[in-house]
């Protein structure tokens, strides 16, 4: 079983990202589960969401404490949230940031095996005209982890957002896939 934890801020769509990733993996024939951690939700407050992907039905109903993959939608969270808490050895961290590998690593309490960086905010602003990075970051997830093919991510995005909005969001994910830089550590 692969466990993924998303860190975002209320309004950035971390919960939707977790759901779309689950839908994409389901299209690829996997068993999936996606859920939010419900705090007292306010726009801008730190939000956590989770996805589980497995080859067999998923019975467990707990939060994720030891993720294989951590996805950070908002770079400012690195300052305030221990995003690598519980990260498994050999884990992957994916961050939306314009900063360098060194600058990001400095903020992480645990060094991952793989660090993927992408400036998803710029991509979202350019493609969508809004700083909502949840679909763009999924392109980075597809590239950095290989747990789900980009084509299923794009399909799931287009199913979640209909019409032109879906096309744009899919484009954001595609662009992020191309621009994601992966550092093996």
């Amino acid at each position: 079983m692969i466990e993924i934890r998303f860190h975002g801020r209320g309004g950035q769509g971390a919960v939707t990202a977790a759901n779309i990733l689950a839908s994409a993996a389901f299209k690829q024939g996997k068993y999936v589960q996606a859920f939010p951690f419900f705090g007292v939700e306010r726009r801008g407050a730190p939000v956590t969401a989770f996805t589980r992907i497995d080859e067999k039905p998923i019975r467990i109903k707990t939060q994720i404490y030891e993720p294989d993959i951590v996805v950070v939608l908002d770079p400012s969270l690195l300052e305030t949230v221990d995003v690598t808490a519980g990260l498994k050895d050999g884990g992957i961290v994916i961050v939306n940031t314009e900063k360098s590998r060194e600058e990001v690593l400095e903020k992480l309490k645990k060094k991952p095996a793989k660090l993927a960086l992408v400036d998803a905010t710029s991509i979202a602003l350019e493609v969508l005209g809004l700083p909502i990075t949840n679909t763009a970051i999924l392109g980075a997830v597809a590239k950095a982890t290989g747990i789900v093919d980009l084509k299923y991510v794009l399909e799931a995005i287009k199913e979640t957002f209909s019409g032109a909005l879906g096309e744009k969001n899919a484009k954001a994910a595609e662009e992020a896939f191309d621009k994601t830089v992966i550092h093996e550590l």
Partner: protein, 397 residues
């Protein structure tokens, strides 16, 4: 019979409930929004807005009114659905008796949520278990599939003329209501074969055979009304098993048992509980089996009617039962513990039983928690007696 090809969708527990109501061809919905149930009735409103159904949707000013409207609609012979949670269910309390006493087969989904104060929106079973004596059947779902299946079966059981009682399908706040999971949905024509339109015994709108609903019964009559209701709830056990078996034959998921057992064959210790936490318990059973513990799990699916006979059969075979109660009755103990001990009193089954109060107000209940309980229960088993019956498991000391 048309060949069954399921339609698989990744949906939340709430959407599973809404699809269940849609596929059951519900005719009237009256509801009031409350977290974490709201997206059930929002989804139903969306079905109506999209023209997928002609459900009569009655927006009301409170949950009390929601159930009142459901009662009126059901008395006309319509198939009626609603949903609520916690404070909303508590506000409905009076009307729950009116629904069951009038023998109306309304189906409701309750998203288990802890009661305030202190304010909480998270999972706990005390809200629905507080409605134990209202004459509603209660089914606790482990996952989103069971929410969907439960709604479909609940209508068939509730509307059966041997039963004619309302039913509550219970799902966990967030853990099911807002968690996305794969649900196998049944094509409409096959649901229609399983669940034909409601055929009511009496209706308010059958003007050739006028009836009154909610009239006065003097001490000369009231007692027999209650007896008939008690017998209907007893007969419901048989109907539940029949419908559960038929559902399994048609769609491959068998619900013919009121309890579900998991690896209990040679178990020394069995964990018993209801709802979503049982998924985690089953996972823990596999882990503990690998560690050498002889453990199993029992999920109580139907809390009303209570599976007395099934629990007796289990208790005869099992030396120790650890009940995991995500609920509490003040001045006594966990409610499932209380009920399950009670049914064994006049029998020869005497397992060691302990009650673990877990997960109140949505506190996470993990595989490691089950392992800790297993170790504690193992010690109890070795000593051969229960010293502390009720354990407040997560208490910060």
């Amino acid at each position: 019979m048309t060949e069954y090809k399921p339609i698989k969708k990744v949906v939340s527990g709430n959407y599973a409930a809404a699809y269940g109501a849609l596929h059951a061809r519900v005719q009237v919905v009256a509801a009031y929004p409350i977290t974490p149930q709201t997206s059930i009735i929002e989804k139903i409103a969306e079905f109506i807005a999209n023209g997928e159904t002609d459900i009569q949707y009655v927006p009301v000013e409170s949950e009390h009114s929601a159930m009142a409207a459901c009662i009126g609609a059901s008395a006309t012979g319509a198939r009626v659905f609603t949903a609520t949670a916690a404070q909303g269910l508590a506000l409905m309390h009076e009307m729950l008796h009116w629904a069951s006493g009038s023998r109306l087969p309304i189906v409701m989904v309750n998203a288990n949520r802890a009661l305030a104060p202190p304010w909480s929106v998270w999972d706990e079973q005390t809200d629905s278990l507080s409605q134990r004596d209202t004459g509603w059947m209660q089914f606790y779902a482990e996952n989103n599939q069971e929410v969907y299946d439960g709604v479909l079966m609940a209508f068939k059981i509730a509307e059966d003329k041997r039963v004619s009682l309302p039913a509550m399908i219970v799902e966990s706040a967030f853990i099911l209501s807002h968690t996305y999971d794969i649900v196998e949905m049944i094509p409409q024509e096959l649901v229609d074969e399983f669940l034909p339109p409601r055929d009511p015994l009496y209706t308010l709108t059958d003007f050739d055979n006028p009836i009154s609903v909610g009239a006065l019964a003097t001490p000369n009559d009231y007692y027999e009304f209650r007896y008939k209701e008690a017998m209907a709830m007893e007969r419901a056990k048989k109907v539940i098993k029949e419908v559960g078996r038929e559902f399994g034959e048609r769609f491959g998921r068998d619900y013919s048992q009121m309890i579900e057992t998991y690896r209990t064959e040679d178990a020394e210790i069995v964990f018993m509980g209801m709802g979503s936490l049982m998924g985690t318990v089953k996972e823990a059973v596999d882990v503990l089996r690998k560690e050498g513990y002889k453990v199993g799990a029992v999920k109580v699916r139907w809390f009303r009617p209570f599976p007395k006979e099934e629990l007796y059969q289990l208790a005869k075979e099992v030396p120790a039962i650890a009940v995991v109660d995500r609920n509490f009755s003040f001045g006594q103990e966990g409610i499932l513990f209380n009920e399950s001990k009670g049914v064994l009193f006049n029998t020869d089954a005497r397992p060691l039983m302990k009650d673990y109060i877990v997960g109140l107000g949505g506190r996470d209940f993990t595989v490691n928690d089950v392992r800790t309980i297993a170790r504690d229960m193992k010690k109890t088993l070795e000593k051969g007696k229960v010293k502390e019956e009720v354990v407040w498991y997560h208490l910060k000391r």
